[in-house]
Amino acid sequence: MEQLTDEELVRAYRERGGSPKGDAWLNELIQRYHSRVALWCFRLTGDREAAADLAQEVFLKVFRNLDSFRGDAKFSTWLYSITRNHCFNELKSRSTRPENTGDPILFDLPDGAEGIHSSLEREGASHLLRELLAASALDATETQVMTMHFAEELPLDAITRLLKLNNASGAKAYIVSAKRKLNRAVQRLKIRPGRFGTSWER
């Protein structure tokens, strides 16, 4: 059984599902990933009991959704997507909104306005940032931290543990430095308008 690939174990389980033998295939498959999911959950929560509960929920989801595993992707990728989405959603639901850390990026656009005008401006500012990011304005860790904190809305302590950031203030320092860099890049663009040709600049 140990020699079989993950995908072969899923196939074997499906062929003999419901029987003790079929369940043994499934248990072998799941136990291969206990430590991996445990480590991920422990880094996200920082607490072994909470991590065990979270990991348990992940595996329950895996069992419930095993029929949806098509077998054209690797099982580990499929398991990762379940683990990632479940853990992120759980953390998101438990935490407050992203922290207001570091100096604000001075987009210099009117605040408080609602409607199409405002949303276009917001979109323009986001587009500008994307172009700055594509031009390597940030290093890999800053990009990673900003993505996890602002796009995925993960708390900073979870990001610090997941990325194994050993500096004193962890992910927070990367947010501060990333925003400082972005701010400087935005200010430079204001001096040289039209360089990136964004709608925001116009």
């Binding site: 248990n27 430590s35 999911v37 990991a55 207001n100 500012a125 986001s126 990673q144 900003m146 993505t147």
Partner: protein, 239 residues
């Protein structure tokens, strides 16, 4: 309104979120080992790069010396909480819903009481089975399941029962406490060994039921034993 100028938070969210051009996790998987190819979307997309790094963390990262013990504890805890038999239906349920057990016990007691009262009020004369043929032996309580019964430290090695007159063969059924059958086997003797792989899947801390049916030479069922129950101690080192 926002405490950020120009709702900075939503701008950052938009800037760092996935775009329509971003790749699925399945596609990003191929970049985990190789890294982004020059000129590809991934090379310039912060979101895809962040996803690749996260996936790499999940698939390749090993616990540090401080993480090793907690991770081992969590993995052991997961194994302990699992109920390997028929996981689709019952995985983790026992550890998640401890109150449900108490409720089930209460409900079961109530049912037994009500059922007993109903039985006493509606007793009828005994009837023969519908498929009874003249000459068949009808046993009401002659077949007795003996062992295993009670508390066990390890999964029991075999099932034994008393012989039933006229029986040519027996079928043993092993069930969970909700009567869902886990396994069955046939024997012409009055004992049958429990296969070791089956014994290994009987989780410590749980109870099981078993029963034996007797069949005559013509293949007709001539009796069923009492329902026997055994329990494997929670601190068992069977696994």
């Amino acid at each position: 309104m926002s405490d950020f100028p120009l709702d900075e938070r939503s701008i950052l969210k938009q800037a760092f979120s996935a775009t329509p051009g971003c790749l699925s996790l399945e596609h990003l998987r191929s970049y985990v080992e190789t890294g982004p190819t020059p000129g590809s979307h991934v090379e310039t997309c912060p979101h895809c790069q962040a996803e690749i790094r996260l996936m790499r963390e999940f698939l390749q990262s090993e616990p540090s010396s401080e993480e090793s013990l907690p991770v081992q504890w969590i993995a052991a805890e997961l194994k302990r909480r699992e109920q390997p038999i028929a996981p689709r239906k019952r995985f983790l349920l026992g550890s998640w819903l401890p109150d449900l057990r108490a409720i089930s016990l209460l409900a079961a007691s109530l049912l037994v009481t009500l059922g007993g009262a109903f039985y006493l009020q509606h007793q009828k004369d005994p009837r023969l089975p519908r498929d009874y043929r003249a000459g068949d032996d009808i046993m009401r309580s002659g077949l007795v399941a003996t062992m295993p019964a009670g508390e066990f430290v390890h999964a029991p090695a075999e099932f034994t029962w008393e012989a039933a007159p006229g029986a040519a063969r027996y079928v043993v059924h092993l069930m969970e406490v909700d009567h869902n059958e886990i396994w069955n086997t046939e024997s012409t003797l009055t004992r049958v060994k429990m296969p070791p792989p089956l014994g290994a899947t009987l989780a410590p801390g749980r109870s099981f039921l078993w029963q034996v049916d007797a069949f005559n030479g013509a293949g007709r069922k001539i009796g069923s034993s009492n329902l026997q129950k055994f329990h494997i101690s929670a601190n068992s080192a069977v696994r």
